[in-house]
């Protein structure tokens, strides 16, 4: 603890850290949990009214990270110890209306905002006795639980240089490990760029022989650099650099930029995987993105992956597989919903096989069959079309001008014509030049090149009309139902395609498939269409985590399009967005993407093959592909990383760096990854950065400690649940718990940033160290980078500076220093911080940091009847229009795209397992395996679903003893009918087994994890369905014993109760080394899982 400055450390703090004795106990030396203190406090009488936690100098505003909603918080500090966390009054996520941004911190100090139980438990995650504080190197085979503490510098050197790193371990005496220095093969950016361009040509070549010829030419052209490629026969794999894989779990847009800078844009690997992606809601995200894309330079792009009904103004929320009171957005959203429910403004219907807490408050609980949300939505669509309850005026608009004329904030593609192929299947949009009613047009791109515009077509009064959807001046409307031939081309309108799908089954049939009575489907459809624009859907993992999650989302989201609610007050909101902290807007002070001397652009196929086309690759070998290729991934396809390593498909991995990634428990079916990670042939080098020894990092060769989210920097994004613009800034609120080290000569804690900096220092990666950002601009410490991002937020997005925050007053500048006296020099030094930004920006930076970010005032969330996306006006001049865009749209994140009943990107993509094209329009498809066959269900099997207790995260909450106090274990919810059949009563312990998981998991170290838990018999779940909360059942993270430096550190059984539902999810019946997944965007089909239960 030498990093602590004795001058700034309180007496009690010293006591708590046990003086110099913290690291004295060898066995627990690497863990934080060895604080001791004298038990003889004087009971100190405080003056009446004295409450130290109400004083502004004891408060630092930062951001929670116990779920992906990231609530701004205030950390209250006493003698250097974080003792209480509350919601920030400055934030629209924590109060409504929240405090004005101009409120002085001295006044805000006594105002506490809302915070959920997880956030309230922050203190227990900071001060987790099982946190690691030093670097651990394994002292036995992978997974053995035996560790040695080693110096940080040694670990970095070993990882960079390689060698016989584990010669002390039986069986690995002669094993030579390839270090990063050797894996970093291709370092010349010019060569890489040229190779990348040539690979694109190879991929674009359809003819196999010509493709082979191009590969041969490539080999000749780059003869002297072929040794730098993974496989010269397959240049599309890219350079060896790609064999270094980075997997980031709970990633946020603070650190992500540092990882990207070091590992992608300096080391040059394409294999960086960030955040939940396929394990979360990839298919919902991507379906919504594809349905809200903008048409930019001939491409469909910039769609919004997230949306939520504007809860303070809406009148009806239809929630599909989303728990606003438990899982998604609880702190910002729950109060908005309850407010509406009690005032009578709002009705809620919840589609969920489990009676969630929100369903308990709902007007209707619709206990849908798992995986049949899409059928329910299709039934609603049928009813809405049949009864003409859609917004005809909105749907007819084809151009922006038409939308403007109607006061609509968006336009849809309902009337646009889609070509049908020879089989009558919809393919791509019809263009004007194809039927000779318009000609193509060359237009300039933003970066000075050209693109070809070919107008789209609608039928108006029986005649085709060509149009530009972005046209602000020409009103074009079209017919809704079109099924015809124009200019010899078979076409249907997008709306017609939707109608055909919806009418393919009767309402009764939709009712049978979904398990929801037809009268309820009709009632919900009537309600949904009875509030004008003031209704909307919410949808999340309950929809996404099925093999049909994409098409189900298309159906659900089409409901919103039918009433045209996007961008309306009380309608659907994408959230208020944020100020660009990377400085990408013209005139911002620091464009950090560009401030990168020696930046490297790599190329090649990702290990998971995500985003690449199977049929274009050099390893195309017919259908099915050996493993799935996800063409339009809705995030990182993390479930494919480890099994692809095992298969060496498309290539082998050499090193893996995991950060906060607990994939074994987070990925359904993750139990299958244990052997992959244990095998040093599959994975020669594996290092991890983790807060503790986790279920996945326990198999690593090295584990680096990390600063917790209350000790570090970060810039979490805005959320759709809040319509105001907000830029949250995470900053150190307490001194770091991990030990201090020196990198580039600077003192800093061991953490993700110091690992990146140290790797950069050792490898000499460009873009770090002295002059790392630019001449005279170092990147030697986290603040060198992060404070510039704060400065970008503080400056705002207008070049003339008129979008900036005020300068902090003298009083505020003093408070800034006074509230940081407890921070150690490893993270805080006033003079050093001040030097990182231009002098004229410093007081603005202080203003932002004193409030934990930048928050738009409450009323800015709406303008008139719209969400703060300025109603389209008719402008007298181009200048006026552009000025208006500058004033409004750029400061709003509300969708500006074309609301797509028909998503062309999807229709163009192919299924890598069957070769079939996907459908651009909402439709019903039953859950299926990877080859499209029905999933086998044997007698007595029940459908296993999972959910999140509001107090639980997945792997982050093991040390949350307070929330464990309210819910000590996870109970398996089972309907009374199912329980009676199995003679089960509440409290009985059962074992779960599935097709491929025998009821117990081999941890590969002689121990097992038992798939047992106790049941809770309930009326609140659909018969045939089970529900088990995640977050429980740890076998690492302090739940079991480990050995550090030869001494046993006892585990804590409280952390291991119950089991994790993901662990019993079976492998795909057709591809046994994969889990069943949705094949467009890649979501794991978690909730298609079936299990047997037996009393133990």
């Amino acid at each position: 603890m030498s990093q602590l400055d004795p001058k700034t450390i309180g007496r009690r703090r010293l006591l708590k850290l046990g003086g110099g004795g913290v690291l004295g106990v060898a066995a627990a030396a690497a863990l934080s949990g060895v604080g001791t203190r004298s038990d003889n406090y004087q009971t100190k009488e405080a003056a009446a009214g004295e409450y130290p936690l109400a004083k502004p100098e004891n408060i630092i505003y930062t951001v929670c990270r116990l779920c992906n909603v990231h609530c701004p918080i205030k950390v209250k500090v006493s003698d250097g110890v974080a003792v209480k966390v509350d919601g920030s009054g400055y934030s629209a996520q924590s109060m409504y209306p929240h405090l004005a941004y101009a409120t002085a911190p001295s006044a805000a100090a006594t105002v506490d905002g809302r915070l959920c139980p997880k956030g309230q438990s922050a203190i227990q995650y900071i001060y987790d006795p099982y946190r690691i504080v030093k670097v651990l190197k394994r002292a036995g085979p992978r997974g053995s639980g035996k560790w040695s503490t080693i110096p940080f510098d040694q670990a970095i050197k070993e990882i960079v240089s390689g060698g016989k790193l584990f010669s002390n371990i039986a069986g690995e005496e002669q094993r030579e490990v390839e270090g990063l220095n050797s894996i970093w093969a291709l370092r010349d950016n010019a060569v890489a760029t040229k190779m990348g361009d040539d690979v694109k040509k190879i991929l674009a070549e359809k003819d196999a022989a010509k493709k082979k010829a191009l590969v041969d030419k490539f080999k000749t052209d780059y003869a002297k650099d072929l040794d730098k490629l993974i496989d010269p026969e397959h240049p599309d794999f890219g350079p060896k650099n790609n064999q270094f894989i980075f997997e980031g779990g709970r990633m946020e847009p603070g650190r992500q930029a540092v990882f990207d800078r070091a590992l992608k844009n300096a080391f040059g690997s394409v294999n960086l995987y960030h955040a939940g992606g396929s394990m979360c809601s990839a298919s919902v995200y991507q379906a919504k993105t594809e349905m809200t894309n903008e048409f930019v330079e001939g491409k469909w792009t910039n769609g919004k992956k997230e949306s939520a009904p504007d809860a303070l103004n809406t009148e009806f929320i239809l929630a599909f597989g989303i728990n606003y009171f438990e899982g998604r957005g609880v702190t910002p959203y729950a109060g908005r919903v309850t407010d509406g429910l009690v005032s009578g403004r709002l009705k809620v219907a919840v589609v969920d096989p489990r009676l969630s807490k929100m369903a308990a408050k709902a007007w209707k609980w619709l206990p849908v069959k798992p995986g049949a949300d899409g059928a329910l939505a299709m039934g609603m669509i049928r009813w809405i079309i049949e009864n003409e309850r859609f917004d005809l005026r909105y749907l007819r608009n084809a151009t922006k001008a038409a939308a403007i004329a109607d006061g609509e904030p968006t336009v849809s593609n309902a009337t646009w014509l889609v070509r049908l192929d020879d089989n009558g299947k919809a393919s791509v949009f019809l263009h004007g030049s194809e039927i000779a009613i318009a000609s193509k047009e060359q237009r300039p791109t933003a970066d000075g090149k050209e693109w070809t515009f070919d107008p789209f077509v609608v039928i108006k009064d029986g005649k085709p009309a060509a149009f530009d959807p972005s046209d602000q001046r020409t009103v074009v409307e079209g017919d809704l139902l079109v099924d015809t031939t124009v200019g010899g081309v078979r076409v249907k309108s997008a709306f017609q395609l939707l109608r055909d799908e919806a009418f393919s089954k009767s309402l009764e049939e939709w009712a049978t498939i979904s398990g929801i009575p037809a009268r309820d489907i009709a009632a919900v459809a009537l309600e949904f269409t009875s509030h004008g624009k003031k209704a909307g859907t919410g949808e999340y993992r309950g929809v996404a985590a099925h093999s049909n999650g994409f098409s189900a989302t298309q159906a659900i989201f089409s409901l919103n399009l039918l009433i045209g609610n996007i961008g309306w007050r009380g309608g659907l909101s994408a959230g208020g967005g944020e100020w660009d902290n990377m400085g990408g807007k013209t005139g911002q002070p620091y464009n950090l993407t560009k401030l990168h001397p020696g930046k490297f652009t790599g190329f090649g196929l990702m290990l998971t093959r995500q985003g690449s086309k199977y049929d274009e690759s050099t390893i195309f070998a017919g259908y099915p592909a050996k493993r799935p290729w996800i063409p339009i991934p809705g995030g990182a396809i993390r479930n494919e990383i480890y099994p692809s390593m095992v298969d060496g498909y498309p290539y082998k991995a050499k090193a893996l760096f995991t950060y906060k990634a607990n994939t074994i428990t987070q990925a359904p079916g993750g139990q299958a990854y244990i052997n992959a990670l244990k095998d040093t042939n599959t994975l020669p080098l594996f290092f991890s950065c983790d807060i503790g020894i986790g279920e996945t990092s326990m198999y690593a060769d090295y584990i680096f400690p990390d600063t917790s989210v209350w000790e570090r920097w970060g810039f979490p994004g805005s959320i759709p649940e809040v319509p105001q613009r907000l830029s949250k800034v995470r900053q150190p609120a307490i001194s770091p718990i991990p030990e201090s080290v020196k990198v580039f000569g600077e003192e800093m804690p061991i953490c993700a940033e110091s690992i990146c900096l140290a790797l950069a220092e050792q490898l000499k990666l460009p873009g770090f160290g002295p002059n790392g950002l630019a001449e005279g601009m170092d990147f030697k410490r986290p603040e060198d980078f992060y404070l510039k991002r704060v400065a970008n937020i503080a400056f705002g997005e207008r070049a003339d500076g008129t979008d900036g925050v005020p300068d902090a007053s003298e009083e505020e500048v003093n408070l800034f220093a006074a509230s940081r006296t407890h921070l150690s020099s490893a993270v805080f030094d006033l003079a050093r911080w001040q030097k990182t930004v231009k002098p004229e920006l410093w007081r603005k930076v202080v203003y932002v940091l004193n409030r934990g970010g930048r928050f738009q005032d409450f009323d800015a969330g709406w303008k008139g009847s719209l969400l703060a996306n300025e109603p389209r006006k008719v402008f007298s001049s181009e200048e006026e229009w552009r000025q208006d865009l500058l004033d409004t749209e750029q400061l709003s994140a509300q969708p500006k795209g074309v609301m797509a009943f028909y998503a062309e990107n999807v229709a163009k993509a192919k299924n890598s397992m069957t070769g079939a094209s996907f459908s651009g329009v909402a439709h019903w498809e039953p859950p299926a395996d990877l080859l499209g066959k029905a999933l086998p269900v044997s007698d007595g099997e029940l459908n296993l679903t999972s959910y999140k207790e509001v107090g639980q995260g997945h792997s982050r909450t093991a040390s949350g003893y307070w929330v464990l106090g309210t819910h000590p274990e996870s109970l398996l919810y089972i309907n009374k009918t199912d329980a009676d059949q199995r003679h089960l009563s509440s409290g009985d312990r059962v074992r779960l087994t599935s097709r491929t998981v025998p009821g117990s998991i081999d941890l590969g170290n002689g121990a097992t994890a038992e798939m047992t838990t106790r049941v809770k018999v309930t009326q609140g779940i659909r018969p045939g369905v089970l529900a088990l909360a995640g977050g429980y059942g740890h076998w690492a993270m302090g739940a079991r014993d480990v050995v550090i430096d030869g001494k046993v550190v006892k585990g804590d059984a409280r952390r291991g109760k119950s089991m994790h539902p993901n662990m019993v999810v079976a492998a795909d019946p057709q591809v046994p080394t994969a889990v069943t997944a949705e094949l467009i965007a890649g979501n794991i089909a978690t909730y298609d899982a079936t299990v047997k239960i037996a009393k133990v």
């Binding site: 038990d39 966390v85 209306p97 956030g119 001060y127 009690v342 409450f858 309210t966 006892k1050």
Partner: protein
């Protein structure tokens, strides 16, 4: 010292409780009542009956006997004179935060003499989402040990599939006007303050647990002196930090072996802040204020016609109301 050893003896020794407690009873009579607002009751408070709602309303000229004004349950009035022009449809959204409003009311109440305040909590069960943020916030705020939650949230399932619902009931101390816990205390350690808060003088409590038995709401707990992080690699600093209850710093050892309970966060009230369970409530289901203030939000809610109290039949006259 004598007191400490007595507590240690009492800790976990259920069989001996009654004997010791009885022995202690005469002692309580001899202890003079403190007059400090921070920790002791004002003279005569123990004997003073808490004013009931209708009396309070009658005093303000409000109708009584079932003719309470039917104000809208939850609507938050627009700020008056704030100069903020908001359209009617924006009313719900643009009104000032109920937290800000209640905090202003709290400050107003704190300017009055203590005996003129009547602290009251209102919990809207329709808005409670059963998240237990209040439970945890309270544990964190008061640094409570394992086994003690001043404000648990009870859950029930009602009905049969598919017509079924769940009901959540947060249960703080009711701060009764006729608190059954007070008269049984043999040492006068627990009492009702003039502002209605039922508190415990930690310095005086001997840990006999009579009050725990007497409370019909289960709102009192015995502090067995445990720590959450005992049995792990190390006890953590947050558990060593003092509890800030009653405006004092209570070391962990100073509150072991005694009874503990919800005190409406009087240490926060003194600082002009609402109780922790109120501010943290994600469903905005908990309200707090002065029932003697006719303009207060809690008065509005209590008189809404929807307010009920738990176990009304016992005559304890709780100051915690539930909106159902």
């Amino acid at each position: 010292m004598a007191k400490t050893s007595r507590r240690k003896l009492l800790k976990g020794a259920a069989a001996s409780v009654s004997t010791l407690a009885l022995a202690a009873t005469p002692l309580s009579r001899a202890i003079p009542v403190q007059a400090s607002e921070a920790i002791g009751p004002a003279p005569g408070v123990l004997a003073r009956r808490g004013r009931n709602l209708s009396a309070a309303l009658a005093e303000r000229g409000a109708p009584s006997g079932g003719l309470l004004p039917a104000t809208h349950a939850i609507s938050v009035p627009l700020p008056t004179g704030s100069g903020t022009a908001v359209a009617a449809q924006q009313a719900a959204a643009s009104a000032e935060s109920s937290v800000v409003r209640m905090q202003a009311e709290l400050k107003r109440a704190m300017e009055k003499p203590i005996a003129q305040r009547k602290w009251t909590m209102v919990i809207d069960q329709r808005k409670c989402v059963g998240c237990s943020a209040c439970t945890v916030a309270c544990i964190a705020e008061n640094n409570l040990p394992p086994g003690i939650a001043y404000r648990p949230v009870l859950e029930e399932e009602i009905g049969e599939y598919p017509k079924v619902t769940r009901r959540f009931t947060p249960r703080p101390c009711m701060h009764c006007d006729e608190p059954p816990c007070v008269p049984v205390c043999p040492v006068g350690a627990t009492y009702k303050r003039p502002d209605g808060v039922v508190v415990i003088n930690y310095d005086r409590c001997i840990g006999c647990r009579y009050c725990i038995v007497a409370c019909p709401y289960g709102a009192r707990s015995f502090d067995f002196g445990e720590h959450y992080t005992d049995g792990t690699p190390g006890r953590q600093p947050y558990e060593e930090s003092p509890a800030l209850e009653y405006g004092k710093e209570w070391s962990r050892s100073s509150v072991e072996g005694i009874t503990r309970k919800c005190h409406f966060c009087v240490h926060r009230l003194n600082a002009g802040m609402l109780p922790a369970c109120v501010t943290t409530c994600i469903g905005e289901a908990t309200y707090f204020g002065d029932l003697n203030d006719p303009e207060s939000l809690v008065t509005e809610l209590v008189t809404s016609g929807r307010a009920v109290r738990l176990k009304e039949e016992l005559g304890t006259k709780p100051n915690v109301y539930y909106l159902v």
